[in-house]
């Protein structure tokens, strides 16, 4: 297929895909909460999910929800917070069929379990067994700590910059920021937006030789930050459209 035609054909399809991926990553995030999964494993699950669908461009016959369930299972193993397939199946089944009773221990249940395990192996092969990622979280937390030291302690206490930045970072996994940008850049962009939300100015920002965000990541430019922030805001716009 010629690339140009494919691109124009794909725009309509692309938008649908983005919506599907949004919905399914929302499922991953919700399931993460219900399974008691920590932020990093949830991020890994979403990244695995996004990477899988980036790698297999042909959308194929893959059921995105099954891929998501397998991603959760695999992420639990990778990040040492092991989940049991039974719990994943229970939570997912209830999500897709609200108010229903949990499944009986019958052949249907075992088939589902088999599907997850098979899908996990498929995913591993598609991703070349590269399933451990560097996430923005570690960077963001250190940036927050450094910033906190520099700010006046009372202003810091009054404005929940940490919580907002953390929320923005978690929410960003609805889109594919994690696969498009390096972790340090995402961390800075998220912090940048959080500060903007509360109108917080970093002390001596104008007088310093180097802006704070460039300290954290030297190869970052204002334009790049703006682009990531825009991408992030678009995820929220998409949320409003879908709901």
């Amino acid at each position: 297929m010629e690339p140009n035609r494919a691109a124009s054909d794909q725009t309509g399809l692309g938008a649908t895909k983005t919506k599907i991926h949004f919905k399914v990553t929302r499922f991953i995030m919700e399931a993460g909460v219900k399974l008691g999964l920590r932020s990093i494993p949830v991020a890994t699950a979403c990244t695995i999910y996004h990477s899988f669908f980036t790698a297999t461009v042909a959308s194929g016959p893959y059921d995105p929800y099954l891929v998501a369930m397998a991603a959760l299972y695999l992420a639990g193993k990778v990040e040492e917070q092991h989940l049991r397939t039974r719990d994943i199946i229970n939570v997912s089944h209830r999500y897709l069929h609200p108010q229903s009773d949990p499944l009986e221990l019958d052949s249907h249940f075992w088939e589902l379990r088999d599907s997850i395990v098979q899908c996990e192996l498929l995913m591993l092969r598609v991703l070349g067994f590269r399933v451990s990622f560097r996430h923005p979280h570690k960077y963001l937390l250190h940036y927050l700590l450094s910033l906190r030291q520099w700010m006046n302690r009372h202003s810091w206490e009054r404005t929940p910059v940490s919580a907002a930045a953390w929320a923005l970072l978690r929410d960003s996994y609805h889109g594919g920021l994690c696969v498009r940008y390096p972790p340090q850049h995402v961390a800075v962009a998220v912090l940048y937006l959080a500060l903007h939300c509360y109108g917080v100015e970093v002390p001596a920002h104008a007088q310093a030789q180097r802006p704070w965000w460039q300290v954290f990541s030297e190869d970052l430019s204002q334009t790049q930050i703006d682009q990531i922030v825009l991408d992030l805001i678009q995820i929220y716009t998409l949320d409003a459209e879908i709901s």
């Binding site: 399974l35 009773d101 960077y139 937390l141 929410d171 310093a208």
Partner: protein, 430 residues
Amino acid sequence: MLCEKKGGSTRFFFIFLRKEKRIDNIEIQHFIAKKADLLFALSWKPNVSTDSESNEENEDCYAVMPPLEQFMEVPSEDRRELFFRDIERGDVVIGRISSIREFGFFMVLICLGSGVVREISQLEITALCPLRDVPSHSSHGDPLSYYQTGDIIQAAIKDIDRYHEKLTISLHSSALPPSLSSTKLGVISSEDLPLHYRRSVEVASTSETYEKVLHHSLGFANPSVVEFLLGKLGLSESSPPSLMRGLQSKNFNEEDFAFALRKKQSASWALKCVKIGVDYFKVGRHVEAMNEYNKALEIDPQNVEALVARGALYATKGSLNKAIDDFEVALKNCPTHRNARKYLCQTLVERGGQLEEEDNLLNAQNYYKRALILDETFKEAEDALLKLRKHMQKSLEMREKQAAKEERQKEKKIETSAQKLRKLLKEEKR
């Protein structure tokens, strides 16, 4: 805006730039407006106390970094101004004694202690420690004689004159806030200098970037670094924040969580086994029935139906004690379970009967009493208890009679011996 046509291209260019920036800002402004309530709500989250944890710099747990302003290269006047704006009474400072007078000593500040990180060593900020704030090291003699210029001192800030940029410090622990009361004040060695300061000195000479320092730090590779820093920053993993409306914690229902679903499912699976087991029991296949009940209890160890069914099976087979144990656990988990209570009562009475036959009367009585406590209307237990009491009364009376009889027999025996003795003596007398 763009409708301004006068001026050269430069002006237009600046207007264009401004407009672009405004677009970006407009997007952000819209975003902030839409999320205003959630952003505001975040500030009401219960603040997990970040100061309760000691402000110690634990290099193993996270990457301890030099001050941010050092990397930003903030001019010294601004650093000085911000220092005097932000410093507070009770903060710990570290400095080098520059001169000692009769009224106290002066020191030039090197850095801050107690976890506060600022770049101040080049700012030549002096602080005075008055004589009365120097603890004495011997009962007489000048407390100041203990100190020399060049000593590195850790002290607490006692007073700040922000306008005149004057600091008064103290070496008494009373000047410290309660959270820092264990901080050692007085002379310290250069090894005691905080890690962030030592790193800061290194960076000053090597000009490493922030990221390089971060990556070289051992703490950065700590597998639990995220957990640790979340605690330090007061963020929680258990109800994580979000700016998506659908992910707010109030939208989540406990019943949809993995734990609740698993419990419900286990109960359902166990019940299936119990049903199969009961069917086996009804046709007398006790071994298979027991297997099913045990299977059920493996899936759901506190399952009431399984416990009651197994208890009934035990009772039928005569293992009354095991039956009683099962019924009691069942009743504890579900105090309103009628069958559990009924069967338990019956089994208790039956066991009591067994004990009575073995003549273990007191124990038997206990069992009857227990049955009555569970169900005061349980006629059988009441009857059994009364019968037992009568029996006990009778046997008590019998025993008393017997004892009296034995007593008399004993006395008789004694009399006979006494008589014999008298006889003997009488004979002797002759």
